[in-house]
Every structure is written in C-alpha cells, then in structure tokens.
C-alpha cells in the first residue's frame, strides 16, 4: 500500500471513527431521551385518565349519596322485598333518576344477598343477570366499589352503594354512567390521547383516532395479550398503555391509551438528521483534505525516491527542489547535501591517501595550506579510556581491538559532528583538533560540545555493556586552547598534518587528570567557549612541564536555554487563566463522566451497615525537565508519567472501616521506567464511637506528618510537583556513613548523578506501616502514630512494621481550625532514618537506632474568597554517623492560590531549604549542602467536577559554585472517577 494511501486511510479512518463514535453516543442518548419522553407522555395520559376516573367516582358517589339520603329508595326496596312487588321501587327509582337528570343511566337494585330486584336502563326495566355483590362486601369495601360493567353490550362506569333503612342493610344499589362514543371522545380530548375499551377481544368503544387508523389492530392485540403493559409501536408513532378493566365476573377487559409520539420524537429525529448531515459533511471534508494532504506529503517523497534511484545509478549531479522548511524540506536539503558530499568525496579520493581530514584535503586542494607550518590558535581535545589496561586484562586481543574501535569510532563521530579533525589515535587515546587547518570563532565551543557528545556516546555504550554484563568504560577528556604550530609533518611522500606546542601538551595533561566521565577544560578554553555550559571550578593545578598553576573547570553539561516551549506554554496558560477564565470561556460544565460510584460500582448490604465503594484517580503527567532534572526527577528528557489509583473503601458494620489503594505508576519518583503496580495503602479503621471522636487505624497508610501530604491528592494542592522539602535529596546518604565531618562536607561537591541516593527532608507523601490513634473534639484533632520508618525513608523501606528492623518512628500532629478560613497544624516526627544495609559500616557499638531524624512542621492555611494562602515551616535535625554535631536544615514554603473564575486558577509557590553550617577540624564553618530555592507557577482548569488540567513551571536556584540546570515544565491531567 502506498504512503499516500496510508495517510489518506488514516485521516479518513480517524474522521469516520470519530463521526461513528459521535453517532453511537448521540444515538444512545437520543434513545434514552425518547424513552424518557415517551414514558413521561404515557404516564401523563394515564394520570389524566386516573384523574378522570376519580371525578367519575366522586360524581357517582354523590349520586349514590343522594339516593340513599332519603328513605324513599330504601323504603321502596323494603316494600318490594316484604311484599314482592318491585313496581313501587321502579317508580321511586325513575323518579329519583329523573330529578337527578341522569335518566339515561344504569341503575340496579339488589337485595342483601346480591340478587337483583330491579334493573333500569334509560328508565326502562331491563334484565340484569350478573347480580351484585353481597351488601356486606360492599360495606366492607368501604365506598371503593367502583368499576366498569358491560350491560346490553354497552360499557358503564359503575359505583355500588349499600341501601339501609334505619340501620337495617336491605340491599345494595349500583349506579352506572354509560361510557359511550361521545364520552370516550371527550375523554380522549381531555387526556390528549386516544382511548379504547376492549373486552372479550372486541372494542366497546374507542376514540375516532383508533377507529380510523390501523392502530386498532395493535390496540386490540395489546389489550388481549397475556401481559398488559406499555408498548411503543415499531414506527414510533404511538405509545400504547393497557390497564386491566374490571367489567364483571369472568370477563377480561382492558383499557388502552394510545399516546401520539410524533411531537415527542420529532426533535430527536431532527437532531439525528442534522447529525447525519454534519457527519457526512465531515467525512466529505476529510476525504478532500485527505486527498490534498496525502498528495502534498507523497509528491516530495516521490521526487526524492526518483532522485535517489538516479544517484544509485551513479548520477551525482542530481538535486531536488526544496520548497518548504518543514521536515520534508530539510530532508530534501539533507539529500542535496549528501549528493554534494558524495560528489566531493569522489574528488578527494586521490588526496585522502595523504591526509586524514576532508577539511585539510579541501584546504590543500584550494592550495591554501602552507606545508611548512604556521602558528595559529587551536583547541586541542584529548580523550582517553580510563583504566583501559585493567579493563582489557585477560581479554582476547580481537575483543580488545573491537572494544577500542567501538569507543574510538563513537568519539570520532562526535568530533566529526562538531567539525573537529581527529588528528590521531594513540593507543587508547584520541587527539582531535579544532581550529586547524581552518579556524572558526567557535572552535573552543565546538570542542567542549564534542567532549560532551563523547561522554554521552560513552554513556550510551555503557548502557549496552551493562545490559550484556560487561564492565562500564570511563573516558576522561581534557581540552585546552592556545597557540600551536600546525603543519604537514613527516617525510615528503607521507605527510601528516598535525599541531604541536605547549597548549597541546596542557590539553594532554588535563586529559590525564580527568576522571572517568569528566571533561576538564582550562580557563582559556572556557573563556572562548562562552556561557553555554554548566561548569564547576576546581582547585587550580600545577602541571608537569608548565611553570604556573592553571585554573581548571569541570564541564558538566550544556546549559539548556529556558525552553521556548516552556515560555510559550507559561505565557499561554497565564493568558488563558486571566483572559479566557473571566470571559467565561469554557466554564466548568456540570455534565461529567460518571464516577464509578455513580455508575453503580458499589455494594450495600440491605441494612446499609456493610458497603463497598470503588473509586479511582487517573493522573497523566508530561514532564520536560532541564538537563539535571529537578528534585526527585533525574531524567533529562521529556517523558510521560502519571499514575492510576483504585480506591476500595469498605464499611464493615458500624464500628469498622477499611480502605485499600491499588496504584500503578512509573515508580514513586516519576521517571521513564516501566509501569509497575502495587498496593499503596491498606488499612482498617476501628471507630468505637459513632461521632468518630476516637479512632484507631492500623495498616499501611499516609503518614500524618507535615502539611503538604494531607492535601497532596486534593484540589487544595494547586501544583503537580511537591514543594522543595518534600522533593529534594540532601547529601545525607542513608546507605554510606561519611568517615568524618570533612568528608561529609565534601559530599555536596559530588557530581549531580550521585544525588539519587540522598535522603529527602521528607518523602513526598510517604505511605508507611503502623498504627495511628486519632482523637477529635470541636475543631481540634490530635493524632499519634507509630510507624515503621521515618518520613524521609525510601519507598522500599515502607514495608517495615514498627520495630521490625529498627526502633519505631513516632509521628504526631495537632490541628486546630480557628475559624472557617484559618487552620493550623503542628506535626512532629522522631525516628531512625538510616537504611539497614548501612549497619555493618557503622562504628562498633552503634546501631541504626542511634541515628534519628527529628522534624517539626508548622502549617497554616488561610482562605478568603477566591484567595488561599498556605505557609509551612519545617525544622529538621539529623544524627549523621561520624558527625558529632546535629546536622540541621530549615525549610519554608509559601504558597498562594488565586481563583480567577469558576474552574480557572493560578498559583505561585516559593520554597526553600537552608542547610546548617558545621565546624570542621581545621576551624571554620561550612554548610553541609547548598541552600536551594524553588519557584513554581501553576495554572489549572477544571472543565468539570472530576476533571482537571494543570500546568506547572518550576525554577530551582542553588547557591553553589555552579547553577544546576534543573528547571521543570510539567503538565498534568487529573481525572477522578
């Protein structure tokens, strides 16, 4: 399948898929709405009918009361019964019916056993075969005795009343109104639906709409069906609702209401039609755009393909037109360049036997090179494999050469990529020159970048080696800039262009001093290379053969300019929050995807004492870290992280609750590693009092220490990353004891990559095992917990129960709500923090429990309107092995969140850690780590109650000899479900 076809199909598929999805969704929703509307309309009609029946009932019972209100009818019945003569009864009844104006009604009078004594229809005597219920039943039925009867093929709505004379129940009377065509017609008009009465499989009367339409068959079918109920006809024209009708003993009757659905369904049909038109339009547009895009993409590819074929045939004059600046344009440019280079390569072939470099060859070809040599400023780079001899000891020679070639090949590529010339290889060393034979303004800069590339390439090689189980390779690099003699040296038939001089020697010496992974440069090089690098000044060194001492710098990396993406995203976010928010654009919608609870994902026992609730949270994070990462993030490339949490909350009777959180993420500290799952929390809460004044919680749960962890998962925290003290690794290493205070103080100089082993001040949201007691009264809450590990411990130690490996950590907090807007929390934790593996390295007689971290937190939060201010202070103190002073640090966090409109907010946070000074053996005080500050700006938008989009930009600033490039841009989508 051609490339064009693939793009076309992809685009079309996407649009078709989306349109189809939309269709399905709207279709389902429409179905639901139609069902709703239909059942509403049907219910309305049924209710209207019930109301009418109620009126009938009231009317008939008034007639009944009228007849029984006087002694005439009971008296006449008495006479008829005692003297077996119903004539007088007929007269009296007709008299009363005439007076009441209902002479056309049905009237049946029966004796106490229900045997009919008289039946009148339209004032004429008639035969009533069915009888009436026993009068006692009518009395017992109160005056609910209301139903329908068929008499002489006519339907009557009837009501029965007892007849009594001086307390003697003589019999009963049934009064009925005819439900004739006219009545049914009016009935239909009142309830706004068609009505049909059916008994014994035939209609007893129906509105005109039913008589005329084919509807009649459906109505009779439903009315005579085994199960009555409601039915919507296939064409959606009518909703039928049938209810049973009591028309007498042994006769099945029913009343059917047919509700016209045209007006109900029409809007939905209209919507469906419009959607179909919109979908077809979208598909057509997708078709058109797909054709255009596929053609636009595919035609340059076709041109390139044809050009490549010509090159393969040996035509090196081919050039492709470059019309755009996009990837395809660049591909064209690269192609042209490649063809040019190939052509050049042909030219150089004759001279390349004599020289190693294309540049030199070119210069030679131009006839500009001076064979005798010249003094010119050059930058020389030496790269040397550290410990090569030890590394290759006992290795078969072919593998030694393979290893050497692998490294040198990578290094040469790096040099080449930066426009340098690989001058020579000497054993495990490479010498490269920048600035000869051709000088540039940025020789030093390119040299340093080449060095960094070499280190990167070596790191890449090492990853492969480690995967194979081979020992890593270390390369040390030295660079110097200075005047050197350059020229072709050697015999006349075999010339070698090279550089010589003191500056070259110094570069070699610096290379000799560089440790594995280090890039050492001289002052001169750094001056010329400019500001673009993260460097660290080392002690000046004296070098053999050079009389003065020279300043040396370690280059740690290239400083990444504040990403344009970051700036643009930040500006856009602030603009969005400040402009779009107040303008009311994309206000938070009340509509939302249903949560699991709303979708019914819970179980409740009939008594309500036991229930199981399921909920979840999905975070999707995109991080773009600076070169050095930031805080817990040690990656230096953009990566995706996030987490999926499922929460199971169980109520186990009135006194016990339990909760479990299952979490899947790319590690507690976000990184680009694979996704793993685990049980993050699992605990039981015992609550002896209903008002929860006192609780006991046991299991693995969030440590109560600190102000931030308690809100880190909620809206109250506006940021994606934790504040600095919860997200920064100090130089206290829980794995290795420092031999003495001087060494400890030196640790802060180690390269950044050793940081990941340091202890944080507090781990961001630690979930530890233990037990906690809570006590609440008024606005005051006090909690005391005994936990397995300190709040600074690493996640893999969170599995310890208190006392399992070392003394338990005690954590407590006291929170008090002074007012609706102001709350304060003081918390404290004391406990050992070292990791178990350090134990054998501790001094004799010392144990893990001798080294404790004691930390206090004071946290205050204040809210006014749309503004929130939060402040937290942390005072931290550590016992460090072999350091006899308390090692302390203090942290502060100030955070302000401002809502700008519903759903939109901006927040800013400043946090800092200040490290205490320790006195050294040689006198003088020295801070044990570099003070650090962090600024964060965040912006968020909540499009609905359970969805949130956040953006955060973070800058760290460290007061050290170098400024790490550890900014962070983060984007997060949070979905609670």
């Amino acid at each position: 399948m051609s490339f064009r076809a693939k793009i076309f199909i992809a685009l079309l598929g996407l649009v078709a898929g989306l349109t189809g999805l939309l269709f399905v969704m709207v279709g389902q929703e429409t179905e639901r709405q139609v069902d709703l509307a239909v059942s509403e309309a049907t219910m309305r009609a049924q209710n209207a009918f019930s109301d009418l029946e109620e009126l009938w009932r009231a009317e008939l019972s008034r007639v009944g009361a009228r007849f029984t209100g006087s002694n005439r009818i009971p008296g006449a019945l008495e006479a008829a019964l005692e003297e077996d003569d119903s004539e007088v009864l007929a007269d009296a009844a007709n008299y009363e019916l005439t007076i009441a104006g209902i002479a056309d009604s049905l009237l049946v009078v029966a004796d106490a056993e229900g045997s009919p004594v008289l039946a009148l229809v339209n004032g004429a005597e008639s035969t009533w075969n069915a009888g009436l219920p026993n009068v006692d039943d009518i009395v017992a039925d109160d005056d609910e005795f209301f139903s329908y009867r068929i008499h002489e093929d006519r339907l009557f709505v009837v009501h029965a009343v007892p007849l009594a004379l001086f307390g003697r129940l003589l019999g009963s009377m049934l009064v009925g109104y005819p439900v004739d065509r006219e009545v049914i017609h009016r009935l239909g008009e009142v309830i706004g639906a068609e009505v049909c009465f059916v008994a014994g499989g035939r209609s007893l009367g129906a509105t005109a709409g039913i008589s005329n339409a084919a509807l009649f068959d459906d109505v009779v079918a439903l009315a005579t069906a085994d199960r009555l109920g409601t039915r919507i006809l296939a064409d959606r024209g009518w909703a039928l609702a049938a209810e049973p009708l009591t028309v007498g003993e042994g006769v099945a009757g029913s009343r059917v209401i047919a509700v016209p659905l045209d007006e109900v369904v029409a809007p939905f049909e209209r919507l469906r039609r419009r959607l179909a038109v919109a979908g077809a339009t979208a598909l057509f547009l997708a078709l058109a755009i797909g054709v255009a895009v596929a053609r636009g993409l595919a035609s340059p590819v076709g041109v390139l393909t044809r050009a490549t074929e010509r090159v393969a045939e040996g035509d090196l004059e081919v050039q492709v037109p470059v019309r755009t600046r996009d990837e395809l344009g660049r591909l064209g440019q690269a192609f042209n360049q490649m063809v040019n280079d190939l052509a050049l390569k042909e030219k150089y072939r004759s001279v390349l036997d004599k020289v190693v470099s294309r540049d030199i060859a070119e210069e030679m070809l131009r006839g500009e090179i001076k064979l005798g040599g010249e003094t010119r400023p050059v930058t020389t780079l030496f790269a040397d494999i550290r410990g090569f001899t030890a590394l290759t000891e006992g290795m078969p020679p072919e593998r030694v050469i393979a290893l050497l070639n692998e490294v040198m090949d990578a290094a040469a590529q790096a040099v080449d990529a930066e426009g340098g010339v690989v001058d020579k290889y000497v054993g495990d060393e490479l010498m490269a020159v920048f600035g000869a034979p051709i000088s540039g303004d940025d020789d030093a800069r390119r040299a340093v970048r080449a060095a960094l590339r070499i280190q990167e390439a070596v790191s890449d090689l090492n990853r492969g080696r480690e995967a194979r189980g081979d020992a890593p390779i270390g390369v040390g690099i030295g660079i110097n800039t200075g005047p050197a003699v350059a020229g072709n040296m050697g015999s006349h038939d075999r010339l070698n262009y090279t550089v010589l001089g003191e500056s070259v020697n110094l570069a070699a010496r610096l290379c000799g001093r560089a440790r594995a992974g280090e890039v050492l440069v001289s002052d001169a090089t750094l001056d010329q290379a400019g500001d673009g690098f993260v460097t660290r000044a080392l002690e000046p060194v004296r070098v053999k053969g050079i009389s003065y001492s020279i300043s040396v710098h370690e280059v740690r990396g290239e400083r990444r300019a504040q990403s344009r993406v970051t700036s643009a995203a930040l500006a856009l976010s602030v603009a969005l929050a400040l402009v779009a928010g107040p303008l009311g654009w994309a206000r938070p919608s009340h509509a939302q995807m249903p949560t699991l609870a709303e979708a019914g994902a819970y179980l409740v026992s009939p008594s309500g004492d036991y229930r199981l609730d399921l909920s979840g949270m999905l975070l999707l994070d995109v991080y773009e870290p600076g070169r050095d990462g930031a805080g817990f993030i040690f990656e230096d490339d953009t990566f995706l992280a996030g987490r999926l949490s499922l929460f199971l909350d169980a109520t186990l009777g009135p006194y016990v609750d339990a909760a479990v959180e299952l979490r899947a993420d790319r590690g507690e500290t976000p990184s680009d590693q694979g996704v793993t799952g685990r049980i993050e929390q699992a605990f039981v809460v015992i609550k002896p009092w209903k008002d929860r004044r006192f609780d006991i919680q046991i299991g693995r749960f969030l440590s109560p220490f600190g102000g931030w962890p308690r809100r880190h998962d909620t809206r109250a925290d506006a940021f994606i990353r934790p504040p600095l003290p919860y997200d920064y690794r100090t130089m206290i290493c829980p794995l290795v004891p420092p031999p003495n205070v001087e060494k400890f103080l030196n640790w802060k100089h180690v390269p950044e990559r050793f940081r990941p082993t340091g202890s944080p001040v507090v781990w961001g949201a630690p979930y530890q095992k233990g037990a906690m007691v809570s006590w609440r009264t008024g606005g005051l809450t006090a909690r005391v917990a005994v936990l397995g590990t300190a709040p600074s411990s690493e996640p893999y130690d969170w599995g310890y129960w208190p006392g399992e490996e070392f003394d338990p950590s005690w954590v407590g907090d006291l929170s008090y709500r002074f007012s609706h807007s102001f709350q304060m929390v003081v918390s404290c934790s004391v406990g050992p923090y070292l990791q178990t593996t350090i134990e054998p390295r501790l001094r004799e007689g010392r144990s893990l429990d001798d080294y404790e971290q004691s930390i206090w937190s004071v946290y205050g939060s204040w809210t006014r309107g749309w503004t929130q201010l939060k402040i937290e202070l942390l005072i931290d103190s550590w016992d460090v092995p072999n350091v006899y002073e308390k090692v302390e640090d203090d942290s502060a966090i100030v955070e302000i969140k401002q809502k700008v409109s519903p759903g939109w907010w901006l927040a800013a946070r400043w946090s800092t850690i200040r490290f205490s000074e320790l006195s050294t053996m040689y006198g003088g005080d020295n801070a044990w780590d570099w003070d650090i500050e962090r600024w964060e700006i965040a912006f968020g938008w909540a499009p609905s109650r359970n969805l949130e989009l956040r953006f955060e930009s973070m800058w760290n600033s460290q007061k050290g000899p170098y400024e790490p490039d550890d900014d962070l841009l983060a984007l997060q989508l949070k979905w609670l479900f």
Binding site: G69, E78, D85, L165, G167
Partner: protein, 251 residues
C-alpha cells in the same frame, strides 16, 4: 329475616263459660338508640335524633265472629311535631281515618310504600293537615321523605282483640270468646310472629312469644354514616334486650 317464634302454650282451666283471657309475654330484641344523620359525606357534624319508639302489638288475626270494632273511634291523628311522628304507632279499625297535621316550622312529607295503603302526602308546611283513610286491614309503615329518622306505623285491625305489650313484654287480652285463634305479635323492627292459641271458656290462656332481633350484627356507625343516613345501633343493644313499651294499650 324473621326467626321462627318458639311458642309455649299451656292452658289453664277457667270457670268462665263464654269468654276467656289471653295472657302472655312477648320478647322483642329491639334496637334502640339514636339515629345519626349525616347529610353530606365529608362535611358537617352529623345530626343525632332519637328513634321513634314503636311498641309491640299483639293481636288476633282476622275477623272474630260476632265481634266488631265498632267501639273503636274512626278518627286518629299522628302529629308531625319536633320532626317526630307523634304518636309513632296507632291501632285503628278498618275504614278509620288518620290525619297527619304538620306542627313544625319546617316542611314534612309522609308517605308509605306499604301495599296495605300506599300514599304520598307530598310536602306541606306548618298548619296544614292531610288525612288518609285506611280501608284494608294490615300494617302500614310511614316515613318522611325529608327526615330520614322519622317513622311511624299504623296497624289496621278487624277485631277488637289486641293489646300493646308493656315494658316487660307482658300483655293481656280479655273477653276473648272461646275458640282457636292465630295470635300475631308485631313490631316495626322485628316483624311479625304468629302462634295458634286455644281459648277456652273462663280460662286464661298463657302465651309466650318471641320476636327475633332485626339485626344480628353490629354496624359501625361511622362507616354507615359515610354511605348514607342510617340508624345508629347502640353497640351493646344486641345484648341488652330493651323492650318497647307504650304503657297501657288500648286507645
């Protein structure tokens, strides 16, 4: 409705040759109490009226040879006073007239659907009176169309041998010529019961008769009042056997 009466008859010898005496006791399970009238089903307090007390009469059925009712008056009055037929019961000879004056401020109407004498006097105001001639023997029950608690009965007899039972139900009919008679006890609520008695000269024939109660079950007043105006039945009346008494019998 009527339970068969159980009669016990014993005849005692008498010295009188031409005529004997009938003595006996009739037991009536009669309902007593007030009649609750509620004109509208939902509103208004029910009116409570005392039911007219209609006594039990005992009489010899049919004609008695040689004995006329000539000594009984030909004109009687049943007044409609205080929404009550007063008296509620008269015994009259065949052919006698009863006038029904209205002495109340409101309209009254007296009608009867009894076959013996069917009439409807219509509604008439105070001061007017209408008269009905009863020309056939039998019982006529009279009701008012307007006031459902009003009732009266007229017994038209063919011979002078009748008695109104007293409070205890005892009656006495004297100077009855010897012979065999059908003795009837009648009450407006209990209907009639018959008994054949043999009257011998100068003797006293003793008769015990029983009129069964009209209602065998209690009715709930409220429920009935919702339906229609009906009589209240004192809840305990089924047990308490009250007797209708009108004092001494003959007019």
């Amino acid at each position: 409705m009527l339970c068969a009466a159980v009669g016990a008859l014993s005849i005692l010898a008498s010295s009188l040759a031409e005529a004997g005496t009938l003595e006996g006791k009739v037991e009536v399970k009669s309902r007593r109490g007030s009649k609750v009238v509620k004109r509208y089903a939902d509103t208004g307090a029910p009116e409570s009226r005392e039911l007219a007390r209609v006594p039990t009469i005992v009489f010899i059925k049919g004609r008695v040879e040689g004995q006329s009712t000539g000594r009984l008056p030909q004109d009687y009055t049943i007044d409609q006073l205080d929404a009550t037929f007063t008296p509620a019961f008269v015994v009259i000879p065949v052919g006698a007239r009863v006038s029904f004056p209205n002495s109340d401020d409101e309209y009254h109407n007296a009608f009867s659907y009894s076959k013996t004498k069917r009439f409807d006097l219509g509604r008439y105001p105070k001061g007017e009176s209408k008269t009905v001639t009863f020309d056939r023997p039998g019982v006529v029950k009279i009701y008012c169309e307007i006031h459902p608690w009003m009732r009266a009965a007229v017994m038209i007899v063919e011979n002078p041998f009748f008695a109104i039972a007293d409070e205890t139900g005892a009656f006495r009919i004297s100077d009855v010529p010897a012979g065999s008679y059908t003795l009837v006890a009648w009450n407006i609520d209990g209907g009639a019961t018959e008994s054949v008695v043999e009257v011998v000269d100068t003797g006293v024939a003793e008769v015990e008769m029983r009129l069964a109660g009209v209602l065998e079950s209690d009715l709930e007043v409220e429920k009935l009042s919702m339906l229609a105006p009906v009589g209240d039945v004192a809840r305990s009346s089924a047990d308490a056997c009250c007797q209708a008494t009108f004092g001494e019998g003959r007019p």
